[in-house]
Structures are given as structure tokens and as C-alpha cells.
């Protein structure tokens, strides 16, 4: 598959947006502006950008605690995301969800989930709705390597396969579930082989190659809709930052982190590829400046927006 230049630049822009969004969050955190912790996906931008840009707006995603990239990829407004993290009324969840629970139904994001594997069974239910409503859309379920040892992962895959549900399971294997290395946690051949064991076509891809992710998701989406079978992708990637803000990185070496930053960084690699194919540095700079401006404006607007008022929170629990 040869991508059009527009699509390539869109993929680059989205990865930049995700990275700069999270770097801005880090800076705000260090200035003491944010209450609570957060889980950054810096280094993993290719899987979020590649997967989400392969979907239509009407396709749904479910996301994880490390979900800022998924949310942006599916079209969320960075202002409303910053506002959410800052506890503002304009935030996606009016300050009730925070970093870990952003949902953006208008763009087909059923929400980030703080429970590891929590969204797998939800994605199966959403796919069942699509099947019952006879819609030509899929649900893309993001989860991490940590999720594949939860029982709900297995119950969800089994049912999706039995019922031929239009769901694409996408495991972002960043190789650590908090401190637990996935090769110490996952028995058997590979994470992808677990999908196969439920009769679901499963592949392992380079999750830091944004075009590989985009193409795999595009192809699988088409196949899900034509064959009525779920699919499974294991995208191998790596997170540079700790699990959350309290992580001291005692479980891995700085050499390992540096290797991924230097040799495997998804943005750096894609810039190299684009330049090689004739995209000018000026063009990329223009895109990056646009993203920087969007982030600056969004942060400012969020900081200027009103705090979420203290209402009757007990009543807010019920519809």
C-alpha cells in the first residue's frame, strides 16, 4: 500500500500532536498545575495515530489508562482534554474523569478505562450493537500487554469469536505492565498467538512504524466488514516515561530506554522516511509549528476557563 502524501503528513502531524500534548502535560505537572497522576504514551504515538486515522468517525474505539493518544487520534479537541485534566467545566468529563477517563462520544471514543482489560468486554458489547443494528462499522479495542493476563481478556476474545463480532483487538505491547516485563508475565508463544488460539486471525507488527499500523488496521477493518470475523493485532512498541509519575524505572536500564529513543522512535523514523521520499524539512517544520501553536492556544484557553462548579455530586451518579 502506497499512502498519499496528504495521509502521510496527517500521520506525522497526529504523532507530533500526541507527543507535544503529553510534553505540555509533563510541563504543567512539574509546575504543579495538575492534580493526580497520569500515564504518558511518549514513544508509542505510532500505534494510536496509525490505528485511529485508519478508522471512520462512526467507528468506535475503547481506550486505556494510557489513552491521550487514542483520544487525540480519534479527533478530540486538545483544549477540552487540557480542560479536563485541569478540572474545568469545559473538560470532556467536566473534571470528573481526569487523565484516565476521557470519553468523547461525538468522535466515536467510548472512553478511556482505568481498569486493565476493563474495556475489552465493553468493546464486545458495542460490537454486538453494531451487529444487531446491521451497521458497517467496527469497534477498535486498545489494550496493553498487561491486559492479556486478565480473565476478561479471554472471555471477551472467546465471545467475539463465537459471535462473529466486528471488533479489532489492538494490543499495544509496550513490553511492561507497570514494572512487570511482558516476557516474564505472558506464557506461551506470543501475545498474538493468544488471539489465534480463539480462532481469530492475529498478527504481530512493528508498532513504532506508523504506516505499518495504519495499513494493518485498514486491511483488517475491511476484512472484518467483509468476513464478519474479529481480528487481532499485537503492535510492539515502547514507552519512554515511567508507568505513571511515581515510577523510578528500577526495572529496566537507561541503555534500553536510550536504544528505543535513538533507534526506534516512531516520529524520528517517520521524518527520515518522509524526507527520503522527497518531503521538505520546511514542510514538516510548518506542520510542527501549527501543532505547537494549537497546543499553546489550547493550554492557555484551558487555564483561562472556569473551574468545574461544586454541584450535587451524589445526584450526578445517576442519569
Amino acid at each position: 500500500m502506497t499512502l498519499k502524501l496528504d495521509k502521510q503528513l496527517e500521520l506525522h502531524r497526529m504523532m507530533m500532536l500526541i507527543r507535544l500534548f503529553e510534553e505540555a502535560l509533563e510541563e504543567m505537572f512539574s509546575r504543579g498545575l495538575l492534580h493526580g497522576t497520569m500515564h504518558l504514551s511518549i514513544g508509542q504515538e505510532a500505534s494510536a495515530a496509525g490505528a485511529c486515522l485508519a478508522l471512520d468517525k462512526e467507528d468506535l474505539i475503547t481506550s486505556t489508562h494510557r489513552g491521550h493518544g487514542h483520544c487525540l487520534g480519534k479527533g478530540a479537541d486538545p483544549f477540552k482534554m487540557f480542560a479536563e485534566l485541569l478540572g474545568r467545566e469545559d473538560g470532556y468529563c467536566r473534571g470528573r474523569g481526569g487523565s484516565m477517563h476521557i470519553a468523547d462520544l461525538s468522535n466515536g471514543n467510548l472512553g478511556a478505562n482505568g481498569i486493565v482489560a476493563g474495556s475489552l468486554t465493553i468493546s464486545v458489547g458495542a460490537a454486538l450493537s453494531f451487529q444487531m443494528q446491521k451497521k458497517d462499522n467496527i469497534v477498535l479495542c486498545f489494550f496493553g500487554d498487561g491486559a492479556v493476563n486478565e480473565g476478561s481478556f479471554h472471555e471477551a476474545l472467546n465471545l467475539a469469536s463465537l459471535w462473529d463480532l466486528p471488533v479489532l483487538f489492538l494490543c499495544e505491547n509496550n513490553q511492561y505492565g507497570m514494572s512487570m516485563a511482558s516476557d516474564k508475565a505472558v506464557a506461551g508463544e506470543s501475545i498474538a498467538s493468544r488471539g489465534s488460539s480463539y480462532g481469530i486471525e492475529s498478527i504481530q507488527i512493528d508498532g513504532n512504524d506508523v504506516e505499518a499500523v495504519f495499513e494493518s488496521v485498514t486491511n483488517f477493518k475491511n476484512e472484518i466488514l467483509s468476513s464478519n470475523r474479529p481480528k487481532f493485532i499485537e503492535a510492539v512498541t515502547y514507552r519512554y516515561r515511567g508507568h505513571s509519575k511515581s515510577d523510578r524505572n528500577l526495572y529496566r536500564t537507561s541503555d534500553e530506554i536510550e536504544y528505543w529513543k535513538e533507534e526506534k522512535d516512531p516520529i524520528k523514523r517517520y521524518i527520515g522516511k518522509l524526507i527520503e521520499s522527497g518531503v521538505t524539512e520546511e514542510k514538516l517544520k510548518e506542520i510542527d509549528e501549527g501543532v505547537k501553536e494549537l497546543i499553546r492556544d489550547s493550554v492557555k484557553k484551558a487555564l483561562d476557563s472556569p473551574m468545574s462548579p461544586v454541584t450535587n455530586l451524589e445526584e450526578d451518579s445517576y442519569a
Binding site: 468506535l60 475503547t62 473538560g91 470532556y92 468529563c93 467536566r94 473534571g95 470528573r96 474523569g97 477517563h101 470519553a103 462520544l105 467510548l110 472512553g111 478505562n113 482505568g114 481498569i115 476493563g118 475489552l120 468486554t121 465493553i122 468493546s123 464486545v124 458489547g125 458495542a126 460490537a127 454486538l128 450493537s129 453494531f130 444487531m132 443494528q133 469497534v139 480473565g151 476478561s152 472471555e155 471477551a156 472467546n158 465471545l159 463465537l162 459471535w163 455530586l313 451524589e314 450526578d316 451518579s317 445517576y318 442519569a319
Partner: protein, 327 residues
Amino acid sequence: MPELTAGQSINKALSLILEKNQTAFLAGEDIGIYGGAFGVTEGLLEEFGSERIKDTPISEDVIAGLAVGASMTGSRPIVEMQFSDFIVNAMDPIVNQAAKLHFMYGGAVNVPIVIRGASGAGTGAAAQHSQSLESWFCHVPGLKVVTPSNAQNAYDLLLSSFVDPNPVIFMEHKLIYKVKENVTLNPIPKDSSYLGNASVAQEGTDLTVVSYSNMVNVVKEAVAMKELQNYSIEIVDLQTVSPIDFETIKNSLIKTKKLLVCQEAPSNSSVGTTVVSEVVESDLFNVLETAPKLVSGLHSPMPSAKHLESTVIPQKEDILNAIQDML
């Protein structure tokens, strides 16, 4: 007016819901050709087909989780936990997902699901098939918890639970599956305002017994015993145990000035202790003529043998003794 057990009246309610609402579907273990372990879904597969009566593998986690995902995307799932004890395998989708999403996402989504299950003891099913776990769910903001006591209110409460835009845990005591009564087959209500209302099952002036689920029937038997023929006892059937209708309890206590609460579940952190604490924390404390009393199941797993099981569950004689102590 047909004479039905609660299982049969719930079947009628499910059938009406499926007929009137094309987005509604059922999912659960053995609910199809088997008709449900207690026969509650009998005939529905034939009537509505396998697209809408969905037999699942034995996977309670995904049964509850798929209900959450389906309800967020325009479907109206009603799912069955074959024995409500098995709901323990589905705590994450219920407690961390269904109950939280409306609040956590700032009101952007609703999770209108009904999770039904057969609860309670008295059938010799022993410790893992006899529990009354309703209090667990009362502790979780975002859930409603409904506990019918007879065929009529099981029918009406199920329709209202379906109409409600929130996740509802619907606990069907196994013993109410065995009792027949005349049931008025009301239409589906426009709103769910019937939830959260207690009913005065019997009027009286000397003492109020607050109860719920099948224990209401045991209380009725106790109150009918000849030892109490000269007394006038009021029985309040909570019907919904989260939220609890304290208004009805209050109105009753202003009249009777004595409170006894009866439940099958153990007392620790239970519906009964909530009722008592709410009453004694309020102005009603000054109205009460005696200390409130709580008759509960023992803090013990349910034994299998009949004579041991009936030791754990409050019997009508235990309730009679408590009432006599208070009068």
C-alpha cells in the same frame, strides 16, 4: 388476571419488553432452549429467536461487560446471572464500569442495563448458591438495587427497571419463584418512578416491620400467628433497597413508634443496618419508644442440610420473638 409465580410474571414482563422494544435483548447462561435454570426465560427463544435471546458461554464477566458496551451504543440489554452468587465473577464490569461511567464521563453516557439473578436461600443449594448479596451493590453509587417480594411487584419492578436509564441489579429470591398469585399485567410505564418506592404490605399501628425480598413473606406469616392476634403490625416492603424509601419508613414510624427490621442477609454492613442507622440519626430517634431491633441471617455461609440452613435464615418464630420483646 392470570395466576403466576414470580418466575412466570418476570417471563411475561420480559416478553412484553422484547415485543415493544426492538433494541432490547437478553443474554445469559442457559436462557435459550433450556429456558433458564429456574425457567424464567422459558419460551422466549421460540418467540423472539436467537438474535435476541442470546445463550452465552459460562462467562459472567463478559456477560455483564457486553451489557455495558451494548447499552452505551443504543441497545437495551437485560442479562441473567444464573445464580446471583455468580455475579461475583462480574464485579468489575458492574462496579468499576456500569456504576461509574455516567458520572466519570461527566454525564456524556448512560448505562441502562438490567442484571437479573436468582438470590437467597431455602432450597438447600448451600454456600455458593444461596447468598443474599444485595448490600454489596447498595454500597456503590450509580447502581440501583431492586428486590421484589412477590409475583406482582416482580413484574412491575422489572418493567420499571428496564425503563430506568441507570444500571439496575435485580435480585429475584428463589422462593418467590414457587408462589402463585393473581398478577395484573400492567403496560410498560412511561418512567421509572416506581423504583425507590416502598410499599406498605400491611397496615398497622403498634409496630413497624421493615423488610424486603422473600423475608417480607416470612414476616407476614409471623404477624399472622395467633400470639399476635391482638396487635396491629405494619409491614413495609422496601421493594428497592438502593435507593431506600425513608419517607415511607418515617411515616410508618410516626404512627407506630417501634421499628423492627428483618432480612435474610447477615447484618454486617447491610440494608438493615442502614435502615436502623438512618432512623436513629434522624428526628425519629425521639419518636421511638424502644430501641430498634434487627433480625438478620447469621454471619455464616449457608449450610446445605435443611435443619442447619433454617438455623442461619431467620424463621417466623424468630420474628415473633423479636416482636413480642418489643411490644
